[in-house]
């Protein structure tokens, strides 16, 4: 396997972009990334997108985006794994370069969600659950996580307010990220008083649906040339799955796919959890961030929330997470989220994270589909 470098990144602000389409957002991030990488084409484009068919009536999105970005003809494939779509696209891009199939690959994550009403979006998001056993009975994606959170609170004797620290951290970090959607801090008190979405999950505990696109350029050693010395390297990549329905898992509070993908990635990168300096988890809901910390071996089982309560996830803590705002405050354009995570981690590892800069050499991202049925872990190393 060859070494794989991130030689360019691009992103659009995460917003309700009422005046922009998916292809427009995607192309904008692609052009930025190409320019930064100093190239004008790529061997292939992998597009992570979760809900373009449901939300905008557009499939075959990869060909559409390639054409609109001026790359007509390029091998272009869309990858879907619900909330893990972006991470899955990064994984395929990584494999294509690492294996020697391609020298230069673009990975774009994009989602356009603002055109539909709230209930329509909620219904689309529920497609990441098991439709025949969960969604059909009305179990929304927020409700799925509410079940997990309620059980966690019961098992570990916690209250709803104890989860606030994840959102407080994400919002604090988003203040300095110009691409973030919600650039204002929130308090534990505001979290406590927030309107409930699906008890015990509240508005301030739910990542907001939004529009956005992010792109990375992946290059082999050869294609990167001298840029390799100044580029972030992907040193670990793994994807694992689990049963989609919560009732099909032996212990719903333990994310097996996260554990497996994280451990494979650690092994490949030759690091232990202790060596992870910074972590971008899939914090669509606080409970998912907590469970991810645990299954990844960054916190003991039942201690994920405590890690947040003790301030260890803050920029100055032991394991900073959601350093640019995470899904919660940067915003959550579903299929794009996994690529935003890589972009943000690359910013950190290159020393381009501005006021939120963390001292980090090794970082990890994790992209999750549904309540944990797909998990993609990537480990990156600073230049």
């Amino acid at each position: 396997m060859r070494r794989v470098y991130i030689t360019g990144i691009g992103q659009t602000p995460v917003r309700e972009h009422w005046d922009r389409s998916a292809r427009d957002l995607a192309a904008s991030s692609i052009l930025q990334a190409l320019e930064q990488a100093g190239i004008d084409k790529a061997d292939a484009i992998y597009v992570g997108n979760a809900l373009s068919g449901e939300l905008t009536g557009q499939e075959q999105l990869a060909a559409l985006i390639a054409d609109f970005a001026g790359l007509t003809g390029t091998e272009a494939i869309r990858v879907e794994a619900a909330g893990a779509s972006g991470g899955a696209a990064v994984r395929l891009g990584y494999l294509a370069v690492a294996s020697g199939v391609h020298d230069t690959v673009l990975v774009t994550g994009v989602e356009k969600m603002s055109d539909l009403s709230g209930p329509a979006v909620e219904e689309a998001l529920a497609t990441s659950t098991d439709e025949e056993y969960e969604a059909i009975h009305g179990l929304s994606i927020a409700a799925s996580h509410a079940l997990l959170m309620r059980r966690y609170m019961y098992d570990y004797d916690l209250e709803r307010r104890d989860f606030a620290h994840f959102s407080v951290n994400s919002h604090r970090n988003a203040v300095n990220n110009e691409y973030a959607m919600f650039r204002r801090p929130i308090t534990v008190e505001a979290f406590e008083k927030a309107r409930l979405v699906a008890d015990p999950i509240s508005l301030l505990d739910s990542a907001p649906v939004a529009d956005g696109a992010a792109t990375i350029v992946l290059c082999s050693d050869k294609a990167a040339g001298k840029r390799a010395n100044s580029s972030v390297e992907i040193t670990g990549s793994a994807l694992a799955t689990d049963a989609v329905a919560l009732h099909d898992r032996p212990n719903p509070l333990f994310l097996r796919a996260v554990q497996e993908s994280a451990h494979k990635a650690y092994a490949q990168a030759g690091v232990t959890p202790k060596q992870i300096d910074i972590f971008e988890p899939h914090d669509a809901f606080a409970i998912l961030a907590a469970l991810s910390l645990e299954a990844s071996g960054l916190a003991p089982e039942g201690e994920g929330v405590r890690l947040a309560m003790e301030g260890e996830i803050a920029l100055e803590g032991r394991i900073p997470i959601c350093t640019m705002g995470g899904q919660k405050a940067r915003g959550y354009p579903v299929g794009a989220a996994g690529v935003y995570q890589i972009v943000e981690l690359a910013q950190q590892l290159r020393g381009d994270a501005g006021a939120n800069q963390v001292d980090a050499r090794v970082g990890m991202t994790q992209s999750i589909g549904g309540t944990g049925a797909t998990a993609v872990t990537h480990i990156l190393r600073s230049p």
Copy 2:
């Protein structure tokens, strides 16, 4: 790049399976393929599926299928490229094995279409056009091809009945394929009298939507072991794209993505069009089969239909196509179609095609999205 063998195939009959879900169909084809390959697990599963979100409200289908097939935890990713979804999944599976990333990969194509009404399916199928410039104005997928066919008839002075020979050939070949949906011959006269769907495209010129799943097992030389000697090999694989909207192409009657993917595949396999003994094109509509023959270099421009009129596409012809019924008569479960093509070509190249057996050493499949925005070509060689 390592050599890649197809060591197992599986398929369900293509039908309206009112009593079976996508996961059920997929698992059934997976278990057949695994048994034939003599293995009980794989390193990864790539799932080709076009419309599961729109038609059944189920995304994250790859994890769902892996779990239901008893392969919980396995790396599983869904790939979408409209009608080319199956072919795109085969391409990623091929790359994963050829590159040395994985030793054994399952590629499954599946589509479950019977649960919705005709108009709902038609709307879902239109997502493969350019939504903002084509579908939104009411251009269905049949109507898109009607435009192409009308123009072709005008340019080359042909009548509607001249296109009949594609459907006649496909229906004739489906008679002997127990997995095919329409196992009855049709005549040129019946084609002429058939009810119009979108003038000049008629019911007997349109591939029927249907349910079905097909799976192949791809193995490296090492993993195939002694089976390599009796297994079909994939010797060429390429995917290319084009503008999605017809009006964005310089010549809508020339399928650039088909040409590019075919020529890359020829080059990789080290063959010329003349050496292709058998071809499984994307014959969702006769016009698409004709244009594919031309862009692939198997017929001069404007001669694709004549090739059919002269009987050269029949089992005993110069270049037999749709030998097991094609999309037209085997049936067209959209995202599964590209994998069915590989399964059927493998049957031919192994000598397992029964009454439809053709004398062939080198064969080609082509999976197309929309009116040609994505094209995936594979070249296979007999053991």
